[in-house]
C-alpha cells in the first residue's frame, strides 16, 4: 500500500472541505472495499479522511411517512432496524444478500453505494482497464466477461455495479442526500446516482469530488407487503450476483396497481425496467403477466461473448422474484 495521510474528520463540512481541496483524497468509512483496493494498488489516494466519528448513523422516521437512514449506519444495523424490516423488507433482503456477516458489520450504507466494480481486469494492475487507467482499453470487452454487463455498456467499459443494496433502493425510489464544500447540500434520486460508463468509465457515479453522502431518504412505500429480492450466484453465499432482481408490487386484490423491477449484475448501475413496470401495471398478478414483463425487461439486452446466459437467466429471475413478491410461489 502506498503511503497516505490519515485525517480524522470531526464535522461533515470539514471532511468535505479537506477532500475537495485535495484531488487525490478519498473518504474512509467501513473500509471494506477501499482498503482492499489500496492493497491491490488499484486505488492510490494520498489522503484518507476518516468519517467514522461523524454522527451520521441514525435511522429515524421522516415526516410524511418515510424513513431516513444515516450514511454511516452499518449495513447490519440497517437491515435489522424495525423501521426497515417493517416498511422496507426488500431493503433488508437485499442487504443480507450481500457480502458476509463480518463485512456487513463493518460496511456502511454510504460506502455500500460507493463500492467499485469487481471486474477482474479492474483488480489486476498488470492488465488494461479504462476504469482504473483511462486510455489503456477494456480488458473484459473481448476477454473473460461471463460476469459483465448486458445493458448500457460501452466499448470503453463493460463492468457491472456489484452491489445489492442500491438495487432495492432504486425499487423503493430512495433519494441520496449529499453535502459538499461550502455547505452546499443537494439530493440525488438513487436512479441518477450511479452512471453508465460511456466515455468516462472512471466515474462510477455523479458525486462531485468532495461531496459526502450524509443520508439515504426512503419515501413512504406501498410495497412492504409484496416485495422480493432474488440473487442468483455461483455459490449459496458470499458471491456477487450473476443476476439479481429487486421486485416490488403494489397489489389491489389480484391486480397490480404499480410495480418496480430493478435488475442487478447486468449493468454499470442498477438497471430499472420501466417497460416491465408499465407492462405490469393494471394487470392481474399472474405468471403469464410476469413472463410478458420479463420479456420486455430483457428485450434490449446486448450480451457479450460469455454472458448471453444472463438474458435468459434475467427473464427467469424476474418471473421468480415477482412470483415470490405476489406470493404465488
Amino acid at each position: 500500500m502506498r503511503p497516505f495521510k490519515y485525517t480524522r474528520a470531526s464535522t461533515v463540512d470539514s471532511a468535505a472541505r479537506v477532500v475537495t481541496a485535495n484531488p487525490s483524497a478519498k473518504f474512509l468509512a467501513g473500509g471494506t472495499n477501499i482498503l482492499d483496493l489500496m492493497k491491490e494498488d488499484v486505488e492510490r489516494p494520498n489522503e484518507l479522511v476518516d468519517l467514522t466519528r461523524l454522527k451520521l448513523a441514525e435511522i429515524k422516521a421522516a415526516p410524511g411517512g418515510g424513513v431516513t437512514i444515516g450514511a454511516l449506519s452499518k449495513n447490519t444495523d440497517t437491515a435489522n432496524h424495525p423501521l426497515i424490516r417493517q416498511n422496507y423488507p426488500l431493503l433488508t433482503q437485499a442487504i443480507v444478500a450481500g457480502a458476509s456477516g463480518q463485512l456487513r458489520n463493518m460496511a456502511t450504507n454510504g460506502g455500500n453505494l460507493m463500492q467499485r466494480t469487481r471486474c477482474q481486469y479492474f483488480y489486476d494492475t498488470a492488465l488494461p482497464c479504462n476504469k482504473r487507467e483511462l486510455g489503456t482499453g477494456c480488458g473484459a470487452l473481448e476477454g473473460l466477461n461471463r460476469n459483465h454487463a448486458i445493458f448500457g455498456w460501452s466499448e470503453k467499459c463493460v463492468a457491472t455495479y456489484p452491489g445489492d443494496m442500491a438495487n432495492a433502493l432504486y425499487a423503493l425510489e430512495a433519494v441520496v442526500r449529499v453535502r459538499g464544500a461550502q455547505e452546499r447540500e443537494r439530493t440525488i434520486p438513487i436512479g441518477d446516482f450511479h452512471r453508465l460508463p460511456g466515455d468516462t468509465p472512471e466515474k462510477d457515479n455523479n458525486l462531485q469530488h468532495g461531496e459526502l453522502i450524509t443520508a439515504i431518504e426512503l419515501p413512504k412505500s406501498p410495497f412492504a407487503k409484496n416485495s422480493y429480492y432474488l440473487k442468483v450466484r455461483d455459490r449459496a453465499s458470499y458471491a456477487f450476483a450473476l443476476v439479481a432482481v429487486a421486485a416490488a408490487l403494489d397489489l389491489n386484490g389480484g391486480t397490480i396497481r404499480q410495480a418496480r423491477v430493478v435488475l442487478g449484475g447486468v449493468a454499470h448501475k442498477p438497471w430499472r425496467s420501466l417497460e416491465a413496470e408499465s407492462a405490469l401495471s393494471g394487470k392481474p398478478a399472474s405468471e403469464q403477466t410476469f413472463k410478458q414483463a420479463a420479456e420486455l425487461a430483457l428485450r434490449d439486452a446486448k450480451p457479450l461473448a460469455h454472458n448471453a446466459y444472463k438474458v435468459e437467466l434475467g427473464k427467469r429471475a424476474i418471473v421468480r422474484a415477482l412470483m415470490r413478491a405476489s406470493r404465488l410461489a
Partner: protein, 738 residues
C-alpha cells in the same frame, strides 16, 4: 481390547490451535528480521528486457532489491520424494526464482524487495519497473491438445487385451468427453518461510509437507551438507498437496538471507499462491465403454490429456485407477501431457483419482442409462473380485458392503430410474452415485520413542500434520502400545532433527509413521522384557517378547495379567531413567502379493432449481472402507472435508485464465469460489471397517484423499438424474443448466 485405538479422541493440538499457541511458519520471531516481498511479472513468456530498481531501492526502509541480475546462482536441485522425476538421480527441474531473465509463466517472480518492515517492502515492490521482450505464449490446453504425449518417465501405457476390437464388437457403447478446469488448493495458511543463517548453517521455518525434502532441496541449492540445514514446520494450516514439493520461495528466502547476512521472512499473498505453487491441471478426458446387454463391461478406453509446463514434465496419472476399479478384460488407459506456458501443475487432494473417476464414473452412469440398468447395479455387475490389472487378490476390499450400507442409509431403493422423475415442489430432485478409490500406500518411516521411568513417553518423527490429525493419531498409537494414558505421551513432528519420515502426501502417514511408532513401542517393550528377565525370579520367565504388553506401569503377560513386573522397578534396578528406541518401518514383503486399495461408495442428493439453474447438494452419504479406523472423530472430519472438496470441484471451483495474456484472472478468494458453509448441507460419513492383516501392522489405509474421489461424479450424475442434462464440464454453474 484396545483402550484408545478405535475410540474417538479430540485433537491433542486443538487447544494450542484455537488459543494461538500453535506457531505457523510466518509466526516464528527471530531477532533482526527483514521482510521480503515478491514482485510478479506480467507476461507469460519471453525475457526480461530491463528492470529498474532505483526508485524501489531508495524507498524508505528498503535493504536490497534482488533480481536475476544480482542474485547468486543456486546449485543444482536434488530431487525429493515429491519432486518429479521421481528418480533420485535425476535433477529436479522445478522453477526457481531470479535465476535468469527467462519468463516461463505469467505472474512469475521477477524481483524480491527486502525491507525493514513488511509494509515498506510491499510498497517498494510497486516501484520496481520491468519491461519485457514478450514472446508468443500458449496457455490453453485445448489449443495444444494435438501435441499431447506420453510422459517420458514411467512405463508406457500398455493395453490390456484387445480394447479396439472389443469396443467395435460391444453390443452397447457409450463415448463422451469430460473436462475439468485448473483448480488451486487454497489452504487457509499462506505459504511462508523464515530463513536464518549462522555461517554455513541454515535454519528455516517453512510451511511444508516434507521437512526432509526441503532440507535436501536447500542443501543442494546452497551447496552445503544436508546436516547443516534444519527445517522446522510444526504446524501447517492446510496444504492439500501445495507443499509437497519445495516451492520457489524457500530457496529465494534463504538466498536473500544468506546475501544480506540477516534473517528474512517471505510470505505469499493469496494472489502469489496461484503461481507460487502448482495446480490441479486442466484435464480433457475421452472415454469409451463397451458392454454386453447384461451390463458386463467388455472394453474400456480412457484417454486423459492434461497440461504440464515447458520446463518439466508432470503427470497426475489421471487414468491410473481406471485400471483397477472394474473387472474388464480389454482396456487402454493412457494419460498424456502437453506443454503450456504455465507453472508446473502439482498434486492436489486426490490427484489424478478424482479427475479420472469424475470421467469414468460419469461414463458408467451414462452406460447405465444406455442399458437401462440401475447405476448401482451396474457397478455390482462389474465388481472386481481381484485386481483386474495384476490379477492379485486384494489385501481387503469391502466395497460391496459400502455400496450396500450406503444404499440402505440413503434409501436408494426408492429412486425412480427416469431423469426428471423426482420433485420437491418446484425443485427437481436427483440421486446419483459413484465409486471412490485410493491407494493404501506405505513408505519407509522412522520414529523414536523415549520412554521414561516415571511413566511418560516422548515420541518424535519428522512427519507433518497438515490437518488430518497426525499429532493425535500418533499419540493414540503410542499410548496404546506403551500402556500409557495419552496425556503421558508427548509427540513432536515437523523438524529435521527428528527421525526421517516421508512427505505427508498420498494418505500414507498413519500407515507409514504409525507403523514406525508401533514398531518403536514394541522395541521398548522388548527391551524392558529383556531387562526384566535378567532377574532370575522374573515372573515373565519362559514367555516370549511377543507374549507381553505394557499397561499402566506394568509389563505383563497378555494372556495372564497376574504375571507382571513393575516397569519402574525394572528400570531402577538397571539404573535407567529412560529407554530410547528408534524404529524404521518398511512396507512388508507380504504386501507385494496383494493389491492394496481403499474404496468408497458415495450417494448424493441434489435439488436443482429448474428455472435458475442453481444446484444444492442437499444430502451426501459417503461410505468408506479404508482398513481400521484409529480415531473415528478425526476420520469423520477427513471424510466430511472430502465431501466439501468434492462439492467445490463439482459446482464452484475453477481457475480462469485469459489466454490472450496467459494470466490467471481470479487469483483471490472473492473470484475463486471455494464452497461456503451455506453450500454444505447434510453430510453423513460412515466406515465399513476392514480387518486387513496385510497392508501394515496397524491395518490402516489412506482416507484423506479417498473422501473426495467419487463426489464430483456422484454430483454430476445426480444433476443428470434431476434434470436430464449431462454436464461433462466442471464446475456445474447455473449458466450451464439454463
Amino acid at each position: 481390547m484396545a483402550r484408545y485405538i478405535g475410540k474417538e479422541m479430540s485433537r491433542v493440538d486443538g487447544v494450542a490451535k484455537v488459543t494461538g499457541r500453535a506457531k505457523y511458519a510466518a509466526e516464528f520471531r527471530v531477532p533482526n528480521l527483514a521482510y521480503g516481498f515478491i514482485v510478479l511479472g506480467s507476461v507469460a513468456k519471453g525475457t526480461i528486457k530491463a528492470i529498474d530498481t532505483r526508485e524501489a531501492e531508495s524507498s524508505q526502509g528498503v535493504v536490497r532489491v534482488f533480481t536475476h541480475l544480482n542474485s547468486p546462482k543456486l546449485g543444482p536441485k536434488a530431487s525429493t520424494e515429491y519432486a518429479p522425476p521421481r528418480n533420485a538421480r535425476e535433477q529436479d527441474k522445478s522453477f526457481r526464482a531470479l535465476q535468469s531473465d527467462r519468463i516461463y509463466f505469467n505472474a512469475q517472480p521477477v524481483a524480491l524487495v527486502v525491507a525493514e518492515t513488511y509494509e515498506q517492502a510491499r510498497y517498494a515492490a510497486r516501484l520496481v519497473k520491468v519491461s519485457y521482450n514478450a514472446e508468443k505464449h500458449s496457455t490453453d490446453t485445448e489449443a495444444v491438445r494435438a501435441q499431447a504425449r506420453v510422459p517420458s518417465q514411467g512405463p508406457p501405457p500398455k493395453p490390456r487385451g484387445n480394447p479396439e476390437e472389443a469396443m467395435k464388437s460391444a453390443p452397447v457403447r457409450v463415448e463422451a468427453e469430460y473436462r475439468i478446469p485448473i483448480e488451486h488448493h487454497n489452504p487457509m495458511e499462506p505459504h511462508a518461510a523464515v530463513a536464518v543463517w549462522e555461517g554455513d548453517r541454515l535454519t528455516i521455518f517453512d510451511k511444508t509437507q516434507e521437512v526432509y525434502g526441503v532440507r535436501r532441496h536447500l542443501a543442494s541449492s546452497f551447496n552445503v551438507p544436508e546436516e547443516n540445514v534444519q527445517v522446522i514446520s510444526p504446524y501447517v494450516g492446510g496444504a492439500f498437496g501445495s507443499s509437497l514439493r519445495p516451492n520457489y520461495y524457500p530457496s529465494l528466502t534463504a538466498m536473500a538471507a544468506r546475501e544480506l547476512k540477516r534473517p528474512i521472512k517471505v510470505v505469499y499473498t493469496r494472489t502469489q499462491m496461484f503461481t507460487g505453487h502448482g495446480h490441479r491441471p486442466y484435464t480433457i478426458q475421452k472415454i469409451a465403454l463397451g458392454a454386453e446387454a447384461s451390463g458386463k463391461l467388455t472394453a474400456m478406453i480412457h484417454e486423459a490429456v492434461h497440461n504440464t509446463s515447458t520446463f518439466e514434465e508432470f503427470s497426475d496419472n489421471t487414468t491410473g485407477f481406471t485400471r483397477q476399479v472394474y473387472a474388464c478384460p480389454n482396456l487402454y488407459a493412457p494419460t498424456k501431457i502437453t506443454d503450456t506456458d504455465l507453472n508446473t501443475p502439482t498434486w492436489m487432494r486426490a490427484p489424478g483419482a478424482v479427475s479420472g473417476m469424475f470421467a469414468l464414473e460419469c461414463a458408467m452412469d451414462e452406460l447405465a442409462y444406455s442399458l437401462k440398468i440401475d447405476p448401482l447395479e451396474l457397478r455390482l455387475i462389474n465388481y472386481a473380485e481381484v485386481d483386474p490389472e495384476s490379477g492379485k487378490p486384494f489385501s481387503s476390499k469391502a466395497l460391496r458392503e459400502c455400496y450396500r450400507l450406503g444404499a440402505e442409509k440413503f434409501g436408494w431403493k426408492n429412486r425412480k430410474f427416469e431423469p426428471r422423475s423426482m420433485r420437491d415442489g418446484r425443485l427437481l430432485v436427483g440421486w446419483g452415485t459413484a465409486t471412490g478409490v485410493w491407494g493404501a500406500f506405505q513408505s519407509p518411516a522412522s520414529a523414536k520413542i523415549t520412554f521414561r521411568g516415571e511413566g511418560t513417553a516422548h515420541v518424535t518423527s519428522a512427519t507433518s500434520d497438515i490437518g488430518p490429525g497426525t499429532y493425535t493419531v500418533v499419540t493414540m498409537i503410542a499410548a496404546e502400545y506403551l500402556g500409557l494414558t495419552p496425556d503421558r505421551v508427548q509427540f513432536e513432528l515437523g523438524d529435521t532433527k527428528f527421525p526421517r519420515a516421508p512427505a505427508q502426501g498420498g494418505s500414507q502417514t498413519t500407515a507409514s509413521v504409525g507403523s514406525a511408532v508401533h514398531g518403536a513401542a514394541l522395541a521398548v517393550t522388548s527391551r524392558l522384557f529383556a531387562l526384566a528377565n535378567q532377574d532370575a525370579n522374573s515372573p515373565l520367565k519362559g514367555a516370549a517378547a511377543s507374549d507381553v504388553e505394557m499397561l499402566d506401569g506394568r509389563l505383563r503377560l497378555k494372556n495372564d495379567p497376574s504375571r507382571f513386573v513393575q516397569i519402574a522397578e525394572v528400570m531402577r534396578r538397571n539404573n535407567l531413567t529412560e529407554i530410547a528406541e528408534t524404529f524404521e518401518s518398511k512396507p512388508s514383503e507380504e504386501r507385494r502379493k496383494y493389491a492394496t486399495l481403499a474404496h468408497g461408495a458415495q450417494f448424493i442428493e441434489v435439488k436443482v432449481d429448474p428455472d435458475l439453474g442453481q444446484v444444492r447438494v442437499t444430502r451426501a452419504i459417503e461410505v468408506s472402507a479404508c482398513g481400521k479406523i484409529i480415531n473415528p472423530k478425526a476420520s469423520h472430519s477427513q471424510e466430511i472435508g472430502g465431501v466439501v472438496w468434492g462439492i467445490g470441484m463439482a459446482l464452484t471451483e475453477a481457475t480462469e485464465i485469459d489466454h490472450r495474456y496467459g494470466r490467471i484472472m481470479n487469483p483471490n478468494l472473492q473470484h475463486y469460489h471455494v464452497p461456503v458453509n451455506a453450500d454444505v448441507h447434510e453430510v453423513e460419513t460412515l466406515f465399513v471397517e476392514e480387518d486387513d492383516q496385510i497392508v501394515n501392522p496397524l491395518g490402516v489405509k489412506g482416507m484423506g484423499e479417498l473422501g473426495m474421489v467419487g463426489i464430483p461424479a456422484a454430483i454430476a450424475n445426480a444433476v443428470f438424474h434431476a434434470t436430464g442434462r449431462r454436464i461433462r464440464e466442471l464446475p456445474i454453474t447455473p449458466d450451464k443448466l439454463l
